[in-house]
């Protein structure tokens, strides 16, 4: 067949380019993590596992890891529960369905900077709309700028607001594939709405749930921008998780090697999680 050789060439060049763009930087990250550098232009000194040992001996690292797990665990749970709820609601016969669906998806499309700024404005301690609301309940303002727990709650709720629509959309698509006869049969047998949800909808959506949970876990564990933009990891490191620690080490303290080590370690943790996850919840072989 003609054109075959040209096609191989194109494939080779394009793939090599992509490897250079993605795999080489990943390799360079590993390289950096074994070096001692006090800036991006200084002469690197090879120090083996020195950075890793330093990082693993820092209480900062373990605190950040713990906060990251709390942050991702809570956000994923809330996103999945709310997402399923929204999907069930948007799947019923409601007025102006396309419009309502569109609005429900909107938060997911907005750039993180907009969400971070808008919510900071709404939480403004003197005239923010949430502050006005809090006053109705007798609080003078919401202390997300100085109370660590409140700050963590705020970034968690913001993350839920932004990223729940992904779960909603995935489940809406999944719901279309559930055969209607199943519900008919259950209705004839006198199953309640809850029983239908628990025994038909959820098991039918299991493959969707498996994929959605995995993607959400990966993305929430790596999430950097929403926390950085909202709290910068503060107050007093209360919202600093691994990506923020890696950023601070690299670009504020210029401990480039340690920053690279932190992100390498978090990638190892993530990869281990993915492997374990696949072991317990193998994806359907249909695709």
């Amino acid at each position: 067949m003609h054109g075959e050789r040209a096609l191989y060439c194109i494939f080779g060049v394009a793939t090599a380019l992509t490897a250079l763009l993605i795999l080489y930087p990943a390799y360079h990250a590993l390289e950096l993590s074994f070096q001692d550098l006090d800036s991006f232009i200084s002469e690197p000194v090879w120090i083996g596992f020195g950075n890793y040992i330093d990082v693993l001996n820092m209480p900062e690292f373990w605190n950040a890891l713990g906060r990251g797990l709390i942050f991702s665990g809570t956000t994923i749970t809330l996103q999945v529960v709310l997402g399923i709820g929204f999907a069930m609601l948007l799947d019923t016969t409601i007025p102006a369905k396309p419009l309502v669906r569109g609005i429900a998806v909107l938060p997911y499309l907005l750039p993180t900077i907009i969400v971070a700024l808008t919510f900071q404005w709404m939480l403004d301690s003197t005239v923010g709309v949430f502050t006005q609301g809090a006053r109705l309940f007798g609080y003078s303002y919401i202390p997300w700028g100085e109370n660590g727990g409140v700050a963590m709650t705020v970034v968690i709720l913001l993350s839920v607001w932004i990223w729940t629509p992904f779960v909603t959309l995935a489940f809406l698509a999944g719901l279309q594939a559930v055969p209607g006869e199943l519900y008919e049969a259950a209705r004839v047998d006198g199953a309640s709405a809850w029983q239908r949800f628990w025994h038909i909808t959820l098991p039918q959506l299991r493959p969707v749930l498996t994929v959605v949970l995995l993607l959400r876990a990966i993305w929430m564990f790596n999430k950097f921008d929403i926390i950085w933009l909202t709290t910068r990891g503060g107050p007093l490191q209360a919202t600093e998780h691994l990506p923020i620690l890696a950023y601070r080490k690299t670009f504020e303290l210029y401990e480039v090697g340690q920053g690279a080590a932190v992100s390498a370690i978090s990638f190892v943790i993530l990869s281990a999680f993915i492997l374990v996850y696949f072991y317990f919840f193998p994806l359907d072989e249909k695709e």
């Binding site: 992509t18 808008t118 790596n222």
Partner: protein, 276 residues
């Protein structure tokens, strides 16, 4: 209609209202705040829109770097879309048309690369750009964005190309077309929805990206909108009216695109195209 179904109806409508309010109120608040002058922002609190004023937009466009950031964002996003489309179409098409062992490794690697934490790429990329003398340029940001959009493009287009049977272009080639002509005249039109989806999401990822922009660009006049707007938070006293006007202008192109191209949006979004 009896009372029970009426009650259920009311509950359902109530839930829909809550959902709409929950999803839309912050956007509504951003919009109406952007059209208020300082006096009504800070002194007269009201949930309803107005009084209408364009002061924030005037200040933003005339007295800040916002127009420069806007141009930068357009340039970077446009470049990212072009690079992504060309390379990912070539890879995805050749992977589906060539038969050789291990070709799925390429697709698998792409998917794996799509899972990389942003900072695992941003730190080494910045270090490489410093070595190449490309640090703090719009080109470096464009290239960084391609590290997210390329795996996505290959993955999405692979799904599209594999659905198009080989017979289609073989028939054209039997009729005397070269492979290139067969590809451009027959295959590409059939995969236009896929190409459009990749274009939309490459644009979206580049337009909304904050993390790479923060790391790659230090000079104010080279920043893109998200990173630029963020510097306004740090350096001035908080001018909420202008910040909300700036946010509205970043969101506007996305909302317009979403209204007219929602079909492609929904497809890409449920395929995880936003990497977030």
């Amino acid at each position: 209609m009896n009372d029970i179904t009426l009650g259920r109806r009311a509950a359902l409508y109530g839930l829909v209202c809550v959902t709409v309010l929950y999803s839309f109120f912050p956007i509504y608040w951003m919009l109406i705040s952007s059209f208020r002058d300082d006096r009504s922002l800070y002194a007269n609190f009201s949930l309803l829109p107005g009084p209408f004023s364009l002061t924030n937009y005037e200040v933003l466009l005339e007295l800040t770097d916002y127009p420069t950031w806007f141009t930068n964002s357009i340039l970077v996003a446009f470049g990212t879309v072009c690079i992504t489309l060309v390379i990912s179409v070539l890879i995805a098409y050749s992977v589906t048309r060539l038969q050789f062992r291990g070709k799925m490794v390429v697709v698998g690697t792409m998917l794996y690369a799509y899972m990389f934490p942003p900072l695992l790429l941003a730190i080494p990329l910045f270090s490489l750009f410093v070595k190449l003398g490309l640090a703090d340029t719009r080109l470096s940001l464009m290239i960084s964005h391609c590290t997210i959009t390329l795996p996505l493009g290959v993955w999405l287009l692979w799904g599209f190309f594999k659905q198009i049977p080989m017979d289609v272009e073989e028939a054209a080639m039997v009729d005397g077309c070269s492979r290139l002509r067969a590809f451009i005249l027959v295959v590409l039109p059939l995969t236009l929805p896929g190409v459009l989806t990749v274009a939309i999401f490459s644009f979206l990822l580049s337009w909304t990206d904050y993390t790479f922009a923060l790391v790659m660009i230090g000079t104010d006049s080279l920043k893109t909108l998200p990173a630029g707007l963020d510097t306004m938070v740090g350096s001035y006293e908080l001018r909420w009216g202008e910040l909300m006007a700036g946010s509205t202008l970043i969101a506007l192109p996305l909302l317009v695109m979403f209204m007219f191209l929602s079909r492609y949006f929904i497809h890409g979004l449920s395929a995880g195209a936003l990497k977030g």
